[in-house]
Symmetry: C2
Subunit: 408 residues, 2 copies
């Protein structure tokens, strides 16, 4: 698709399509840009998509703002499984509940969809180093893709990032700065350093092209459901980028005449860090101190809130919150009923779905997708905290037999 311009979400100012154009000159970091397309110049059919043998997000290459296939990092990203969750359906008396497991991406989170695009854009811009700030997943994702593509990375993470995510950065060889402060401060520092050193920046709430990569998750939901748009999508909200991306994907499909339906996008936040829920209800944004077990969405100042709130409003969606106890419960309920092991922020969407399902707020026939954004192996300590590890048992047959009887 041909990009018409990059348009400020706040003041509407338009900028030409350049790989290193980030935010609006007038509005600063609040002036997030939207990638605007000339949809009329693209003809694409369901049959054409269905016939593709590329089972990665690049099957939708025509609908992405990148051209040169030789610039792609050689990692297989996207086309993650969509499972019909029959046990969950039975539990809640629903007929069409699906789990989209984006923890199956190369570095085990949905963030890989954005990194795939960012690496190409960095090359287009002629950059040799990519910089990012991240609660952890975007960082480990970028470092994996940069390693595969042969680009250097400087990454800022807050001190609360789980060690599995920091370890991923280190094994991929990223130059890592652990900021002795919050994600919000790490974000600001990454933007400063990007400018000072002439790096390419991959912050999803700063670089408008990242949302374009993530929107492919909507294309996949649509195609995997037999080219049907679900009625609802549940997704957890941190910076708001994934929420924005889900909307953008379905928006593209509508503009291209491939559907005339937008699903209701239901954002789910942690009760300990719910600035989007508050802003949506009161009409006023107030920064918070993020405090939740779900580290990936412990974002007190959601940088992409304008795009996210547009997505929630325009899709007739909403934003709800769940407690850390509900998130902890979902950490085991989801894998036990579906086989999908998600990280705390990943299962937050499931906790939100459950809240609505229990309240009979979902009609039996509604088609619901719960998006799991990161793999549970990313944060083993949280998983262990909800299911204590068993003690070793003496290895003689008699003791073991007695012990097994207590288990079954």
């Amino acid at each position: 698709m041909k990009v018409t311009c990059l348009k400020c979400m706040k003041c509407g100012k338009e900028y030409p399509d350049q790989p290193d154009r980030y935010v609006c000159d007038d509005c600063g970091t609040e002036g997030i840009l939207d990638v605007v397309y000339d949809y009329s110049s693209t003809k694409i059919t369901k049959e054409e998509i269905a016939s593709s043998k590329d089972y990665s997000l690049w099957r939708y290459a025509k609908m992405l703002p990148v051209k040169d296939a030789s610039m792609r990092a050689p990692l297989q990203v996207g086309w993650t499984p969509l499972y019909k969750a029959e046990k969950v359906e039975k539990e809640f008396g629903l007929n069409n509940v699906y789990i989209k497991d984006d923890g199956r991406n190369p570095t085990a989170s949905l963030k890989d969809r954005a990194s795939a695009i960012a690496v190409v854009k960095a090359k287009e811009a002629g950059a040799t180093t990519i910089c990012a700030a991240s609660t952890g997943n975007a960082a480990s994702s970028l470092s994996g893709f940069a390693a595969a593509a042969g680009i250097k990375t400087v990454i800022f993470v807050p001190k609360r990032a789980p060690k599995a995510k920091i370890a991923q950065l280190m094994v991929y060889g990223a130059k890592t700065v652990v900021v002795d402060d919050s994600y919000d401060r790490a974000f600001d520092l990454s933007v400063e350093i990007t400018k000072k050193f002439g790096f390419y920046n991959r912050n999803c709430a700063y670089n408008p092209f990242c949302v374009e990569g993530k929107k492919t998750v909507s294309f996949e939901m649509w195609e995997q459901m037999g080219f049907e748009v679900p009625d609802r999508v549940y997704v957890s909200i941190g910076d708001g980028c994934i929420t924005s991306s889900i909307y953008k994907g379905f928006y593209d499909l509508m503009q291209l005449g491939l559907t005339n339906k937008m699903p209701r996008i239901i954002g789910v936040q942690a009760a300990g860090c719910n600035p989007v829920e508050v802003a949506l209800k009161t009409g006023k944004f107030v920064a918070q101190d993020g405090n939740t077990i779900a580290d990936s969405i412990a974002v007190g100042i959601p940088r992409n809130r304008l795009k996210a709130m547009r997505a929630l409003k325009n899709s007739n969606g909403t934003c709800i919150s769940v407690t850390d106890d509900e998130i902890r419960a979902a950490l085991v309920e989801l894998p036990r009923s579906t086989g999908v092991f998600g990280e705390p922020a990943g299962v937050t969407a499931f906790a939100g779905f459950k809240k609505h399902a229990k309240a009979k707020d979902i009609k039996p026939e509604e088609k619901v997708v719960v998006l799991i954004t990161g793999n549970g192996l990313k944060d083993i300590d949280s998983a262990i905290s909800v299911c204590s590890l068993p003690s070793p048992v003496a290895p003689d047959s008699e003791t073991i037999e007695k012990h097994v009887k207590t288990l079954i």
Copy 2:
């Protein structure tokens, strides 16, 4: 394919095809059975395979010993990426080096290929509980598949299993027995308990059908290389099941007339636990105390050694070993050059490949596949041990700028 019989690897005795037939009555646990097919009854073509839209191991359903598709667990397993490793090629002056990333399976290891089959076989046998012993990956795999399929599990792991793997068991709700002893003892206890309680057993070196699931990794290498068989496959060896399975896959392809070539299978063991290497060199098997960072292959008594050694001999392969320091080095070298993060046992195969490549033991034109059997997120502590985590840095701009200068 029609199963002719289950045949003892040791004495040659034949048994009828039953889902709960494990080992030879006469030879005990050393009498591993081989699933023997009537290949003449199956006609399958490359075109038929290539036209399948099922991008999972079930695209090879005709070549597997299970029939009823409704018994499958609803998890997407197999069809993992095969990457051409260009940076690695350049480093060693080779032209055709591929990485097969089986850490991309649902529970993040190759073991999912066996679990997919075991769940169906347990249902065929009418069992409601599956039992297994495992160094960790097979256990977490089984527990994930059993959860998705609605079957109970009782699982024995040795006390040295990494906590990420035990945590996976717990989140999936497996009844877990941590045996205060080695994997070898856990194995024996699992067989005892299986018999006493009438469970179904999924130990891959006991249940002959598990190898049949894992053999699909060879089908995929072949298809993903454009229906060509590689010249060499590097794989780490613990119990010897994966080695056996790689052989069985290519053996099937030869018997079906789909190729006439068997790759050289190069087994790689840890120097601290190399009973297969010793047995192959001396012709004599001696049990060892497993001692290596690569927990998944810390197997002092490889239960499937007969099948594994047949695979190595019949493929004109060999078995080598690498030190724990070489494994540690591979833990970061592989992700930094390919973007693939493997667990210690997974990258052991890469360490073995490097040893041969450095010794100029591989010709430039040879087609080499290095099989990565498990995801690095399974054992973060080992990863951290090779790349120390950075200390937090004060969040003021000046300090951060100075710090970034030291990194780039």
